[in-house]
Structures are given as C-alpha cells and as structure tokens.
Symmetry: D2
Subunit: 296 residues, 4 copies
C-alpha cells in the first residue's frame, strides 16, 4: 500500500519563496520542510464525493490566519496495494497537479516481506522516478509496519528524498535519526502533536499534525516557542495539546477530528463508511478533552 | 483497504452445477463453497503487467488435473483504502466479469477505528449491494486486524453472506465460529494449508490455500481423506504440507510461491516491486522445505 | 521466570503402572504423559495461605470420579526471575516431595535476551540436573514469549525431556512439533481445552486443561472419543467446551475458574491479590457461558 | 510478578539531606527523587552467588566521582508471581535493610487479568503497608504490561507513592503523566538514557539508567545541562548516548552492560544463566556503538 499526499502550492509566499517547484535533485535537497502542516481533512458531500468548495473554504480560512506558517494539502488518501509502479505513476500525477513534494507511505500488504531490502528498493525506485522530492512516511499505527532505522539511514542519502514524517512517536528513534543523518540535511517531521515539542527538542524541524486542522495557530505558537528556545512556556502549551490530540487521532480518529473542526469554525462534515459517526458518549468525551485543557 | 477476489466460472461443471450465478439472496445461501481453492498467483510480463496468456495456461493445466475438485481465480489483488463505496463498485465490476462470489477483506487503514460496529456496517452495506454473494476474509497477518468474533456471528445472518475465509489459524476460534453458526448454513474456509486438516476436524468445509498453486491434487487428496473420516492417513499427509506451506506464505511469501510453481511445471514468474526475488540462501531453504517432506 | 509444577503420585495405579519414579534418563523417556490433567487450582484460607485440607478434599473428589483418567497436581505456582540455578534447586525440592516429573516454564523477565540459544542452554541445564523428567512449558499469553520451534526440536532430543505443554494454541505449530519429533517419542500436551480435539487430531497425546478442574469427566470423555476415532461425536462435545473454557482462562481467568468450581461442587474459594473477585456482570457472563452450552 | 529494588543510603549526604528515612506518609511525599540513578548491576562469583566485595568496590568507585549526583542500589532483582502479600513482606525486609524507598514493578504473570482495577488494588495495598515510600515501575519490554495511565493517575494521589519510573519510552504518555499530576508533587523518572533529555524537556525530574553504570558522570552532565536550560548542548550529548544505551539494554542486554563496565574500570563479570555471554560479533558491535560515539 502506498499513500501519496501532496504538498500544495498554497503556502505563504513570503515564507516559502525557496519552495519553487523543481525537478532537479540537487535543488530538491534545499527544500525547507520546517513548520507545522495540517494533513487536510477532506470534506465530503452527502453522496460521499469530495466537496471541493468546502475544502477550498477551509483552506482560505486557514491561509488568512496570520500566525499559520505552513500549509499542507492531502488529497483524499490514496492507497494501493504493493506495487511500486503504481506509486511512481501517482507521484507523476501529483507533480502534474502542482505538488511541490510527495509523502510516500510504506507499502504494507505483504507485511512479512517488507523488510529493509524491499523497502529500500521501493523508495529508491519511487525517488528515482518522482518529478518532485519525496518525503518518507512511517506510520505503524495504521500500517502495522515501521520503516526500519537502517532503511531510513540508507534512504536519507538519496538526493531526491528530503526527509521523513515519523508518526510512531518513539522519541529515542527520532533523536537517533537526527543524529545519524546530521551531515545529510535530512529533515525530520513529527507525525503528531502529542510529541511535537519533544521532537523539536531532539532536532526535528516541524510536524504534520492532524490537530493543526483545529488548533493551527496554537500549534504554530508552540513551534515559535520551541525554535526560540522558550522551553518552559513551550512545555505548558505542549501539555495542553496531548489530550485533544489523542482524541482526534488514536482514541476517536477522523470522526472526532471532523467534529472538532466544526466546533472551531471549519467544515468537517461526515466521514465515509466504514468510518462511523461518533456516539453521544464519544462526543462528550471529545468535548471534555478540549474543554479541560482550556480550548473550549 | 478492501480486497475483492473473484470466484471464477472455471470450476468443474459436474461438481459445481449448483453454482449457477444468481442475484437472489435466498439462493445465495445455497452456494456450496466446499473444496480446495488456490488463490491464483498472477504471472506478470517483464513490464510488470498481468500476463494473461500464462495465467490461462496455468488455469488449463490445473483444470486438467483429474483430482482437482475446485478452482478459484483472483485478479491481481485490488486494495483500496477505507471506502465502503469503492468496495461496492468493485463487487459490481467483478460480478459483471462473471464472478460467482466475491471475497471481501477487512478494511484496515484506520485500524484503530475498525471496531465491530464499523466492520459490521461495512460488510452489511457491501453485502446489501453486491450482485453476487460475499465471503468474508479475515487475514490478520496482512491487515493487522482480525474480524472480531461478534462481528462474524452478526454478519453470518446476512442472506448474501455465504461464509468466511479465516487465515488467522486460531483453531479455537474457527471451531467456535462453526459452533455458533451451526443453524445458519455459514461456511468456513481455512485460509492456509498449514491447519487445513484441523479446520476440517472442527467443521470447516474447505480451504483457500496458496500451496494449492503448487500441490493442488495433493491438497485435494487431503480433503478427500478428511471428508471420508480417514484421519490417520490425513494426519500423515497434513504434516508433510506444513513446512512447504510456511515457506510459500509466512516465511518467504509470494516470491517463494512463484519459484515453487516453476519447479512444479506452472508459470510462476517474477514478482512486482516492492516484493523482492529470493536470495540464493532462501531458494535453497525453499527447496529443502519441499524435498525434506518428499515433494521434490 | 520459571514455574515448576509437580506431577503427583495420586494417579490411578492401574493406568499408570509405568510411572514408577526414576532418575534414570533412559527410563524417563518411557513415562507416558497421555491423558487429561487439571492444573489444580489452589484454595486459600482467609489469610491467603494455602488451604491444604480443602485442596485434599478437591483431589479426593476428583479421584473418585470413575471416568477421570489422569491427575495432575501443581503447587501454588512458583516463579523466579531468570536464574537457571534456582530452577534446578526447585526441581530437586519437587522430586524430594514425590513429583514424578516437573513442568518448567520459559524464563521471561529479560524477554529480549531469551532467544533460542539462551533457552536451549537453560532447559538443557535444568534437564541435566533434574532428578525427575522435565516437561517444557510454553505459555505466551502469560510470559509474552513462545519457546521457539528450533529450541523445542533441539530440546526434544534430550533424554530427560519428555515433552511439551503448549498453551499457545497454534495448531500448525503443534502439528509440526509432532511431525518433526516423530522418531523421538516426544509427547505433546495441549495447554487448553479450547483446542484439545484439534491437538489430538494432529497428534497430541493429551491436555493440561484448567477447565478439567470443573468439567473433568467430560473432558476425559472427549479424550476417549478422540483416541477411539469417533471424531463426529468428539466435535459436538469439543464445541461445547470452547466458551466455558475461554471464560475460565483468557476472558475471566482464575477468579472465574474458582467460581465455576464452586458451582460444580469443589472448593474454589477466593483468589489472592492482585487477582480481583468477579464483578456481578462477569459472574453472569460466566454462568451464561456454561449454561448456553448445556453445562448448567 | 513484583520486583522490589532498594534505594540505598549510600547517597551523597550533602545532596540528599532531606532523604532521612521515615515512615510518615506526609513526609514521604517530600522525598526528592531528582537525579540520575544507575540500577546497579550485580557482580557474581564463579558459583553465581552475589560477589559483595566487587559490588562494594563498584559503589565506592562511583561514589568518588565528583560529578555523580545520585546513587541507586538494586539487589539482584527479586520477582515473585502474582502475590500482593509477598510484595508487602519484601518491602518490609528492604526497609529493615535500610532502603529509603522501594521500586515496585507491575505484577504480570496473569497479564490478561492485570487491568487497572487489579493494579490499583495491588499498588494501593503495597503502599498502605510499606514502611518506606513506593515508586511505581512500568517496564513493558520486560513484563509485557504497561501500567495504564488511569491507574497511574489514581495511584499518584496515594500519600506513600512518590512517583514512577517509566521505561516504556512513550514521551507523549510521560508528558501527560506530568501534566495530569501537576498539583500532586508526583515525580517522574525516565527509565532509560535513550530518552532522558526528552523526558526532562516534558517535565521528568531524573532517570534510572542502566547506562549510568558505565557513563555515570557523563549522564549527570546531561542532567546538569537540562536542568540549567542549555538544551542545544544537551542535545549533542544526548544523541551520543542513544546507541551505547540501546546496546546495553534492548539490543544486547545485561551481558553487554557488564562487558562495557569492564571496559570502563568497573567489575562487570559474568551473567547468570539463562543469560548468555556475548558472542565475538556482539562484542564488536558493542565496542562500535561506544567508539563511534566517542566514548572509547
């Protein structure tokens, strides 16, 4: 299975002048991934099609926030089984649609066979062919598979691989990736707001955080505290994110994320089957996780 | 993620007269799934496209085997992420292409949210819409998710759900599924040759076995021994399958299956990336697993 | 951690004449383990000491059952951390107390280091020194560790190792152990009533079943059906054990086992902390698991 | 299973004046756990008995290090199965032997039954009875069980429970424990040097680190950098600990720890069976993990 998500060109020009799209691998390594990225939740119509108008309204709403430093757009997640070739073709489509970079998840259907050898081969072939730079994506909670450290280190040397989004939350591993790639300009993004400050502390340059769909400016404030070394203030803020973040990810998932978006003035909308709407008890728990931390 | 595989119409007419394709749910429950099914390995061309000619030759080769009682054809595995709607549309395509039934795997990308409620909803909607009967498919080694027992029992009552292919290998669970559905004509298929006899012993009616691509007639002989109550002979034969079966599934996977097919006169061919070819040591281990059990 | 349990001398003399206690390794291999063994639940006094009188009454009660073919007595489970030496000393104490054989669980505190090399070394040293024969014990649900197959096969050759109690429930593995040790008179015991018939079917010689504390004669009836090849009747009986067995083991554990013993006329009594008494809802679920299968 | 380890009185008097032993629960909460603690490796004689003379030499050697701020002595790990009562009795012995506090691991043999209810009951009873304060110990890699967050929060209110040693490495959880107990003076210790800086960053007060047996002063230097807010320097130092720490814990375990101690001038000595000595290749890997990070 491969997920390819698209970095959009909707980023603030002032901040991202360097992000000119390029097919040059040498230049690719220069793309600066630092910042906070929301993996954009996709609003659907009643017929379960993508609701492009609401999506655009969400994006404009976010772009107008002055403190929001970065933006990330995913298409509705696209996953295929097993085939490197299909992933290559998808990166081409994404680049043609204007993506600056692609986020490529570990293939995982034949988990038992997805050892370092197979994964290095896969990502190398994708990165060799992709017209835009590649960011590795390791998300064991969804795929049941962690991109092994030795594969990350080997792939970090590829000129068209920019970095990794690591959603596993193993801070020791994140620190070690930073340490072992320190001569390679390999950029590490935390895959969740739950360990964002700790990731900054050990050397990450940003985060791709579902919670940024809801509390975007607040997460950008945490980023600002971390990069300016104001760790005491950062800690207080970070801790208030842990429960709401768990609620919209691990505990209650996408339906909770979309519900919370509604509370904060965005279009969340319904989930597509097989994801189920929240129960009444879950909605109350969600509200509690935001309100007890001072967000509602 | 949903996998939909197709039961072909290439089955021996004498044995499968009852398998007339029908959209009537009432009739659906009458389809007899008993027997041994190979999940057909897909030969690829050098360009990684499906090689239909070689596929057909494999099928004819198998159909001429006098002892082979059943046949199963999968298209190259098709997996999507998360969407019930897409699965419904795929069942329609498969039915239009002549499938007698479809095998539908558990969706799994948002594993944490795939509880019984979501899974019952998903399979119910698919079965409500599918023009041909549905067989549930639980394969935790690949999906990281086991279809929970309570969901299986609930779904077993659906008139368009025929049974389950259970690849988890938990024989206690398989026995309990048989026991709790005994009034419902719900058919259980073992998902692997490793526990085929034990599954028959506790009440399964057949198996979908990768190893049947290689040792088809021999597995049909095991079926014959089990259904005729010759358990002592069955045990001796069963035990000789365990190591070759593990080799072509859990241990070495599809590349090993395709290599073994070549040894036994079928077109196996190469795997598509990211699956990697066997190393020399793996090939030797594979040969040993067949030869030490008297198959080579 | 090592658990050492004691096979008692309270077995029916007629059935177990061969079980004369001996320190001769050659003779050890002759001990016949076939049959059903209850791992005896230990009644405690109000002060949480072993209640020897009630224990004896339980044993007498079981011995008078005409259909009960075998008996097994454990002391209150004794587990140490990590040390082979301590295990050796405990086997000596058990032998001095009259044990015919000892059941030795995999050490597990330093799980990460308990590879085949360490485990083969451990069991070999224990078996070299133990005055009575050793039975290996693999129980991953409790220890988080399965005795690896290659270690089992290597250890099966030791003259003072009689067999294995395998509680993992992987019927493919059990079949393979039987297959690969068929020239060694190595005896396999199912570690649970849930897969007892399937284990017999693939070549096990008996079972050590918590449920035998409650439904001893009934499990011996299942044994009789299996060894006499009456598999259709066996299946019907086996299936009625699965839910009550799950209730007194995996689902509700020792507190449920002791509650069920009370219902069936034995002394179960309270559990020691940290095990907690059943809640009202759990007690009802337990009763349901027995009554819906016709046992209450 | 319970492990009880002893905080010795061998701590630097100047730093630990407040650590006067007391049975007063109110006073207990005042004990300051901050600092770096080595879980002292136990040297054995050739006969596998504790070598008290070498142990004392190791301790003196450490005490003379000027930068070493704290000390922790474990007896050879003592684990029992399941019984709260036995744990209580062991805490009494440890207190009588001069311990200032006891570290009590989660019981784990009946893992399936060790839910929050049972664990809260267990630790509450131990803390109620223990003559010295209790520190909770959650180490899922060894026990297969994580002390659930809700149990930690409930237990944090007990007047005789000081804090927790958390070896799981989940930095989100550690941050949340700090956050949810911020009004309770509940002290969190990182259970490994691999995530020590990140733990300080989110609010931990120290660490119990196997690596401190080898690189004690260097870990105390990391502590100093963290508590004085010199995070850039701390990061550089932290990253050099990750590989050596993994080598002496998760990857190669106690045998590697003892080997590295020898290289650094301490008495490491042999491990007791079933732990095995390092192979030649493992020894080289260990040396590489220290030397490539500038420690050898």
């Amino acid at each position: 299975m491969q997920c390819v998500r698209v970095w959009s060109s909707l980023r603030r020009a002032a901040h991202r002048a360097a992000w000119t799209r390029t097919q040059s691998h040498a230049a690719a390594a220069r793309l600066d991934l630092s910042g906070i990225y929301p993996p954009i939740a996709t609003p659907f119509t009643a017929k379960e099609d993508v609701d492009y108008q609401k999506l655009e309204e969400n994006l404009h709403s976010k772009c107008t926030m002055k403190t929001f430093r970065a933006l990330f757009v995913s298409e509705a997640v696209s996953c295929f089984c097993s085939a490197t070739g299909a992933t290559v073709r998808l990166t081409e489509k994404m680049a043609a649609a204007g993506a600056n970079a692609v986020l490529v998840v570990t293939p995982c259907f034949y988990k038992g066979k997805m050892d370092s050898r197979a994964l290095i081969h896969h990502f190398t072939k994708v990165a060799d062919s992709s017209p835009v730079p590649v960011v590795l994506y390791s998300v064991p909670a969804n795929t049941g598979l962690e991109l092994p450290l030795d594969a990350v280190l080997q792939l970090s040397k590829h000129p068209n691989i920019l970095g990794i989004k690591d959603s596993g939350g193993d801070i020791t591993r994140i620190g070690l990736i930073v340490h072992k790639t320190k001569t390679q300009d390999f950029q590490v993004l935390a895959g969740s707001a739950g360990f964002l400050m700790a990731a900054y502390c050990v050397g990450a340059v940003g985060g791709v955080c579902a919670l940024a769909n809801v509390l975007g400016p607040e997460l950008c404030e945490l980023e600002r505290l971390c990069v300016s070394g104001r760790w005491e203030e950062a800690r207080v803020l970070q801790q208030r994110f842990i429960e709401p973040n768990a609620a919209v990810t691990r505990k209650l998932g996408v339906p909770a994320l979309k519900q919370a978006m509604e509370w904060f003035g965005f279009h969340g909308g319904a989930c597509r089957s097989p994801l189920q709407p929240l129960t009444e008890a879950e909605t109350q728990q969600l509200r509690q996780d935001f309100s007890s931390n001072g967000w509602l």
